[in-house]
């Protein structure tokens, strides 16, 4: 951070001395990136906002309807349901990823520096999400799935993990906790490596136990990286699509119809491009507000190290 700030003020100072910019050179460096940004980010953002004010089925001409889509949205129980389902999913999966990640990171940190072990824990994160979804669909299959063998062996009843309205969402959350926990753990582990070993030596001399050390030394010192891991995990969880598209398709009875999947369905199953755009823009606003709050928290949570 300090290096960045220094470099920045150095840029300013030097530019002031020289009295002119590098406009021409900058144009050459930036042209491709700017073209990409203008055509595939700016232009679609403007178009998306415009579509949200129209009634459009992708075939005929868009028809301007003012704020009708937003009025529909406010009164659409499925929209509110999708937000609720998304929130439930985000809490579950982020909770599992962060708690599991913390535990794993602490274990790694106290026990070993093995690169092989860390690479193995990262493998689930590298598996394509579609493959992960297929794989778990099979593991959780109501008849032949591995998990139902375990239940049967324990003398319990078979469960339709992905077909029961109560279990479907927790199952999807578990699937993505499996794929994301290793990554979160490595992030947090990297943070723990930054804590000076002397602090642990001091704690050891004082005779502080492992759990106590973790809670009162490690945890407060890795707060910034914990916040960062939380943001990464939150943002990716809000975009849940692949797992649902492959395993449950929003069912049973809307139990897993998360906002991303709902938008996708409106646009490409029901061809309501206008309404889908209004939903997407609302999601932008919701996430924008959340990010703002997170940023405030991030800034507030500086490590006690600095």
């Amino acid at each position: 951070m300090t290096a960045m700030t220094l470099a920045k003020s150095a840029t300013r100072a030097r530019a002031r001395r020289r009295g002119h910019g590098d406009g021409r050179t900058a144009l050459g460096f930036l042209a491709p990136v700017f073209l990409g940004f203008a055509v595939f980010y700016l232009y679609p953002a403007v178009r998306g906002a415009w579509y949200s004010l129209t009634d459009w089925n992708l075939l005929s001409e868009p028809r301007f309807v003012g704020l009708d889509n937003y009025a529909t949205l406010v009164g659409d129980p499925l929209f509110w349901n999708s937000l609720k389902v998304t929130a439930y999913y985000v809490v579950l999966t982020v909770g599992m990823q962060i708690l599991g990640g913390l535990l794993l990171a602490a274990l790694l940190h106290r026990l070993t520096r093995s690169l092989v072990l860390r690479s193995l824990l990262l493998v689930p994160w590298l598996v394509p999400s579609v493959t992960t979804a297929l794989l778990w669909m099979w593991l959780l299959d109501a008849n032949l799935g591995f998990f139902n063998h375990l239940l049967t062996a324990a003398g319990l009843d078979n469960q339709g993990f992905l077909t029961s309205p109560d279990l479907a969402l927790p199952s999807v959350a578990t699937i993505n906790a499996w794929s994301g926990t290793g990554y979160t753990a490595l992030l947090l582990y990297a943070g723990m490596l930054l804590v000076p070993p002397q602090i642990y030596e001091a704690a050891a001399i004082d005779g502080t136990g492992e759990v106590r050390t973790f809670l009162s030394v490690t945890l407060p010192l890795i707060r910034p990286i914990l916040a960062f891991a939380l943001v990464v995990s939150l943002i990716s969880s809000f975009q849940l699509f692949d797992t649902v598209a492959v395993t449950t398709k929003g069912g049973p009875v809307n139990a897993t119809r998360v906002i991303y999947f709902y938008i996708y369905e409106q646009a490409f199953t029901h061809f309501k491009m206008g309404y889908a755009s209004a939903l997407a823009l609302s999601l932008v606003l919701v996430l924008g507000a959340l990010t703002f709050v997170q940023m405030r928290l991030l800034r507030a949570s500086t490590s006690d190290l600095t």
Binding site: M4, A7, K8, T11, G21, T25, A26, G28, F29, L30, V33, G36, F37, F40, Y41, Y43, A45, R47, L58, L103, L107, L111, T112, V116, S119, L120, V123, P124, L126, V127, P128, S129, V130, T131, L134, L135, W138, L139, D141, F146, H149, L186, L187, L188, A190, L193, P224, I225, F228, F238, Q239, F241, A245, Y264, A267, S277, A280, L283, V284, L287
Partner: protein, 296 residues
């Protein structure tokens, strides 16, 4: 640091937890492989043991199209086919093109934001950062329309267009690293009369090999795993990528009794490139997470 010279109970339990985590991480992949080598007809009866009674490679052969349609059906296929090598080629083209071109162009852009001075720089960069916060689905809908209007559905150009030139994240990520390079290095070259381009290619890029590779790896993993966009714009046989192909393969197999052995064989094959990545770039991948972590 060695306050536990002899194994205490706590230490044993801790190791047990860590090993359990590794097992949980890897067991589903093992089960995928185990299912893939089970004969399709026998799966209903033989699906609990750690190894199948009659291991076979027939499922791999049929998803790779090495056996005829009839033989595939006889082995438990649904008639759905997976033209694996075609989809693999498409995935490689999609991932390779985007990774190489995007990383290079974003390095140029990131360098301009970090080092060059021009009117509107901060405003433009602010716009890029703002775009980081926008959920991709918002631009995905109009981008789909754009690709459709251009007549680029089911073409490579339609597939790669939106992320070929840049992503705000890549520009942002590399700019942070360029900011960290000591100015003196460049100053010396500038005094020697080297232009910005020369400095960029000969001095700056070689110095940021690490972050560049890190970003390229991350981009490659993301692009390889991408599902929604390729499924929407390029579902056609000729441009279908592996992830989309797996999704379509599942849809084509009957709902009541999916062709699990075939699906797992296809899934296993889709993981191979990822495992190669771990084997060749294990340290780099693991370290890359440290990098992105440090930023926090």
């Amino acid at each position: 640091m060695s306050r536990n010279t002899r194994p205490s109970i706590g230490r044993v339990v801790a190791w047990a937890c860590l090993i359990a985590a590794v097992v949980i991480s890897l067991f589903p992949l093992y089960w995928m492989l185990r299912t893939a080598i089970t004969p399709g007809r026998e799966l209903a009866a033989d699906n609990a043991g750690l190894l199948p009674d009659n291991p076979t490679l027939i499922n791999f052969e049929r998803v790779l199209g090495l056996v005829g349609r009839e033989e595939a059906r006889a082995a438990g296929g649904s008639g759905a086919e997976l033209d694996f090598f075609l989809y693999l080629r498409n995935s490689v083209v999609y991932t390779g093109l985007i990774t190489v071109v995007q990383t290079l162009l974003c390095a140029m852009g990131g360098y301009a934001f970090a080092r060059l001075r021009f009117r509107g720089r901060d405003a433009l960069f602010g716009l890029f950062v703002a775009a980081l916060m926008v959920p991709p689905i918002f631009t995905l809908l109009p981008n789909f329309v754009l690709v459709k209007e251009l007549g680029w559905l089911n073409t490579y150009q339609g597939l790669v267009a939106p992320s070929l030139l840049m992503t705000p994240f890549a520009v942002f990520f590399l700019r942070q690293f360029f900011l960290g390079i000591p100015r003196e290095v460049e100053q010396a070259a500038l005094i020697d009369g080297a232009g910005r381009w020369t400095i960029f290619w000969r001095v700056v890029l070689p110095m940021t090999k690490g972050p560049l590779l890190t970003l390229a790896l991350t981009t490659a993993v993301w692009t390889w795993n991408d599902y929604l966009w390729p499924l929407l714009v390029a579902p056609g046989e000729e441009t279908r990528v592996l992830t989309a192909a797996l999704g379509i393969f599942l849809r084509q197999s009957p709902n009541t009794s999916p062709d699990w052995t075939g699906l797992m064989a296809g899934s296993a094959l889709s993981v191979v490139p990822v495992l190669l990545l771990v084997v060749f770039f294990g340290r780099r991948l693991v370290d890359s997470i440290q990098f992105s972590g440090m930023k926090g």
